[in-house]
Amino acid sequence: MNWIQGLLIASIFALVIYLVRSRRSAQSQAWVKVGFVLFVLAGVYAVLRPNDTTVVAHWLGVARGTDLMLYALIIAFSFSTLSTYLRFKDLELRYARLARAIALDGAQTPDSH
């Protein structure tokens, strides 16, 4: 098995664990920020020295730096899609509880009609 295959499979499992355990604690939000800073630094570096991504790709058993970027993009996109989905589910529940509170507040009894 190539390095890249191992890394990609590990990322997929990380995705599943993230999905299962995702509770938006302050700590996990801090990690998101740290990850974002690392991403920005890596992005600037890759723009300045594009050929270095190919060197990293070779370490991992990928032919081209472009391919490596594509794999990284797919994983990042999956993470973001799943976390958006979970966020929406969470909001939907809060929204339902808000609507329920309004509904119960305005309940009508048959005799008051």
């Binding site: 589910k89 969470d90 339902a96 329920r100 509904a103 309940a107 009508q108 048959p110 009609h113």
Partner: protein
């Protein structure tokens, strides 16, 4: 009206059922003093008809789904003085009032916490073939349903006591609440019994029934439910 049903509350979630809700509420009111209709943001005048037919009315300002409507109805009913027994009853006219009465007797005689209707019991007519295949697949795919010995995990007719009503917290807004009910029964170790009920597959209720594909949603939502904050 029999006085022994004064502690019973019937919860009827309704969405765009103006054509039939009046009859359904009327039938229920001939046997039960307390009926609450949850109008789930209907575009027609379902809510007003239900209120005129003698139901209490709780109106969702927006459409939230049947699970959310049941939760709202139960929260309303459990806050009413004297409420001890609760039932969920579909608004599309597919359930029979006599079945509810039998299930209430069963709740008391078996000292169960919750009695669920089943379409696969002795002495009731069987659903159409396709419906039967879908329902039995859903029941077979529910490990908890199997463990609890339930044959019909998606029946809309349920009768339960105050213990269940007080702890009930349906978080699946859509049609997956049936699975969530089963999960809650399992998690809270409620004593459950099954009662054969007749389900009337009228043209009206079939037209509004769940499509086959919805089974996929129910299974995926069931898997994700444990991940949601309670």
């Amino acid at each position: 009206m029999p006085s022994e049903t004064s502690d019973v509350w019937i919860v009827v979630p309704a969405y765009n059922e103006a054509g039939i809700i009046g009859d359904v509420i009327g039938q229920l009111r001939s046997a039960f003093a307390n009926v609450v209709c949850v109008d789930d943001g209907s575009a027609d005048d379902t809510g007003d008809i239900a209120l005129r037919a003698g139901a209490h009315l709780v109106r969702h300002p927006v459409n939230l789904g049947q699970g959310a409507a049941i939760q709202t109805g139960v929260e309303y009913a459990r806050s009413r003085p004297g409420a001890q027994v609760f039932a969920t009853f579909d608004a599309d006219g597919q359930h029979r009032v006599t079945d509810v009465l039998a299930m209430i007797d069963r709740l008391h005689s078996d000292s169960a916490d919750i009695v669920i209707g089943t379409r696969f019991g002795p002495g009731v007519s069987r659903p159409p073939l396709l419906k039967r295949v879908v329902l039995q697949t859903a029941a077979a795919l529910s490990p908890r349903g199997r463990r609890l010995g339930l044959t019909d995990t998606n029946n809309g007719l349920r009768v339960f006591n105050k213990t269940v009503a007080d702890r009930l917290d349906i978080t699946m807004n859509g049609m997956s609440h049936a699975t969530e009910f089963i999960m809650l029964i399992d998690e809270n170790r409620w004593r459950v019994a099954e009662q054969p009920v007749e389900v009337l597959y009228t043209e009206y209720s079939s037209a509004k029934g769940q499509p086959l594909l919805n089974g996929v949603n129910i299974i995926v939502d069931g898997f994700l439910r444990g991940r949601m904050p309670r």
